[in-house]
């Protein structure tokens, strides 16, 4: 790495190491060498003398050359040497652990580790322990989660997964990787049974956990589905109960809207009345938006309902009033959107209703330059 300038400040890798371990003395970790308290570079290890290290080839004119630490370059020079030789050995497996510790996002290393695990017929349950440790330290790393999935598939044993994921979620209830892995496990091994219960537990802890609401939709759509009116009624009730506890809850309202939007918002018996009731005591921009959606749905499907022209006008008026209220007072940050909705619905269902302020023409030209 002769073109790398010597810098007085440390590189990212070393610093991240320090942050993670919290102690400068632990920076160098352990080695294969005789003295476990001093780190030995691979290039100085007798048992690696047979291998010629392979420096990184950044091409003839690298635009951005990363200033790797000596330790980093040494490990990866030897990793490349192993790859080149296609060596399948215990020492190679051990090196992949060092390489992962330095950069757990290097998927080439993870891939090679998988090749080694199979070639050496390693104990996959031991590997699962290793994986668990890495995930606990780096729960947002893509590669380790993918690796876990591969090993679970090889073992064909998901028995630890739900508990493990629950543990990760207890540390960060919205960890996207954890939820994704959970969805895969459940779908692959058909472990639907207790998941709704799990979701409800999480929502008890934090009713605003959007990931949990998403999971709720996932579970129901893959089990009972949303076609059964009894299920829909139950879910509506559940949503409204959660909303009573925490009215300003985007997730609950999104879930309600998402569940009903293709099933006719305005045709759910009693729903509009319940929402109007809630409006008095538990109002929020989300409630108002949902009301608007109900009115719009009613306007859309009026032909099926034998609505009179007068009823249509009334509904349109109410819809436009909500847009006005949101744009001018309740959700001014999204004024443009509410005004757009008001215009849309007015154009579509009749022009005799009250106008929404500043609705004369769209506030952005039809052709925008990029």
């Amino acid at each position: 790495m002769s073109s790398v300038q010597e810098a007085s400040t440390e590189t990212t890798e070393v610093k991240e190491q320090k942050e993670f371990e919290g102690d400068a003395d632990e920076q160098f970790g352990e080695s294969f060498g005789a003295d476990p308290t001093r780190y030995t570079f691979y290039r100085d290890r007798k048992e690696w003398a047979d291998l010629e290290p392979v420096p990184q080839d950044d091409g003839p004119n690298p635009v951005v050359k990363i200033a790797y630490s000596d330790k980093f370059a040494d490990v990866y020079d030897y990793f490349r040497a192993l790859l080149k030789k296609d060596e399948k050995s215990e020492r190679a497996l051990a090196l992949t652990a060092d390489a992962i510790e330095l950069n757990a996002a290097n998927y080439t290393v993870w891939h090679y580790r998988r090749v080694l695990l199979q070639a050496l017929s390693k104990d996959l349950r031991e590997e699962m322990k290793y994986i668990t440790n890495i995930i606990e330290e780096q729960p947002k790393n893509y590669q380790v989660w993918h690796h876990r999935r591969m090993v679970v598939e090889w073992l064909n044993d998901p028995s630890e997964e739900l508990e493990f994921i629950a543990d990760i979620l207890s540390q960060d209830a919205k960890n996207y990787h954890a939820w994704q892995h959970r969805q895969w496990v459940i779908q692959e091994y058909k472990l639907w049974d207790k998941e709704l219960e799990f979701v409800e537990t999480l929502l008890e802890e934090d009713v605003r956990n959007n990931s949990a609401w998403n999971q709720r939709h996932f579970v129901i759509s893959h089990t009972t589905g949303f076609s059964d009116p009894a299920v829909v009624q139950r879910e509506i009730q559940y949503c409204l109960n959660q909303i009573r506890k925490a009215p300003h809850n985007e997730s609950a309202w999104n879930y309600l809207k998402g569940m009903l939007q293709d099933r006719g918002l305005s045709s759910q018996p009693g729903l509009l009345e319940k929402v109007l009731e809630l409006k008095e005591t538990h109002c929020s921009p989300y409630l108002l938006a949902f009301l608007f959606d109900c009115y719009e749905d009613a306007l859309e499907f009026s032909s099926q309902k034998e609505n009179t022209e007068q009823e249509q006008k009334e509904t349109l008026k109410k819809a436009l009033e909500i847009c006005e209220l949101l744009a001018q007072e309740k959700d001014t940050i999204r004024k443009e959107y509410w005004q757009f909705l008001g215009r849309s619905v007015k154009n579509k269902y009749g022009g005799d209703g009250p106008s929404v302020a500043e609705e004369a023409k769209p506030s952005v030209p039809a052709s925008e330059t990029s």
């Binding site: 996207y176 996932f218 809850n249 940050i333």
Partner: protein, 229 residues
């Protein structure tokens, strides 16, 4: 203490692209059914970018890829990483960018998606990535660029967002942090600057929302991905 990145930037750009090498690697990666949408986008961005230049679009089954991306659309109009995964602004950016690059933006419900995206704006003016999460300046890019791609950038309050982004700067060290008061880093700096560009700041070059590159660079090579109006 600021975390200084010790990178060496040479003034010369590469003189030739290793097209075949990149295309082979990317095509092989993209053949697995369950690849992350994120990588799919990033790799398709690169692949399509290079393939447009070299005329090799037919190497990839674009229809299948589009099918997969659309299958990631959720009940709230957003996109997740895989079918069923929670809608997330980062994933949405990848999907809208991908659909732009493949000329498939018409497959979106732009009003519904635009609504979900403009709901990311919080009272502080900042944008979050999913409901009930904190604002983060990088979402000034993921959300804003997505809105720009689908032609609904005017649905967020620009003045408030600008104020938030500017507040994420560090006056002593320069750079942007994820939110005001935190440590700066290049990642958030890029997206803070890019977000400001999308908002129309005249001190910054116009940025292309699909490829996150200056427009003049793309104009120079004749690449103008689709946007909805």
């Amino acid at each position: 203490i600021a975390q200084l990145k010790d990178v060496i930037i040479k003034p010369d750009a590469p003189s030739s692209l290793l097209l075949d090498k990149h295309a082979d690697y990317i095509a092989a990666y993209g053949s697995k059914k369950d690849d992350y949408v994120t990588y799919l986008y990033c790799f398709f961005q690169l692949v399509i970018f290079f393939m447009i230049l070299s005329g090799k679009m037919d190497t990839i089954n674009v229809d299948k890829a589009v099918e997969f991306v659309l299958s990631c659309m959720n009940f709230d109009g957003g996109f997740g990483c895989r079918p069923g995964s929670e809608s997330h602004a980062g994933q949405i950016y990848c999907c809208t960018g991908f659909l732009s690059l493949t000329g498939q933006l018409h497959q979106l419900n732009a009003d519904l998606l635009g609504w979900w995206l403009c709901e990311r704006q919080l009272p502080s003016g900042g944008l979050n990535g999913r409901p009930e999460k904190l604002p983060d300046v990088c979402y000034s890019w993921w959300v804003l660029a997505s809105l720009k791609i689908i032609g609904r950038i005017h649905w967020i309050d620009k003045a408030k967002l600008r104020r938030f982004i500017l507040a994420c700067q560090d006056e002593e060290t320069g750079g942007f942090a994820d939110r005001p008061g935190d440590m700066v880093d290049p990642f958030h700096t890029l997206f803070g600057v890019a977000g400001l560009s999308l908002l129309g700041d005249e001190q910054i070059k116009a940025v292309n929302p699909v490829l996150c590159m200056p427009e003049d660079v793309l104009q120079r090579i004749g690449l103008q991905p689709d946007l909805l109006s």
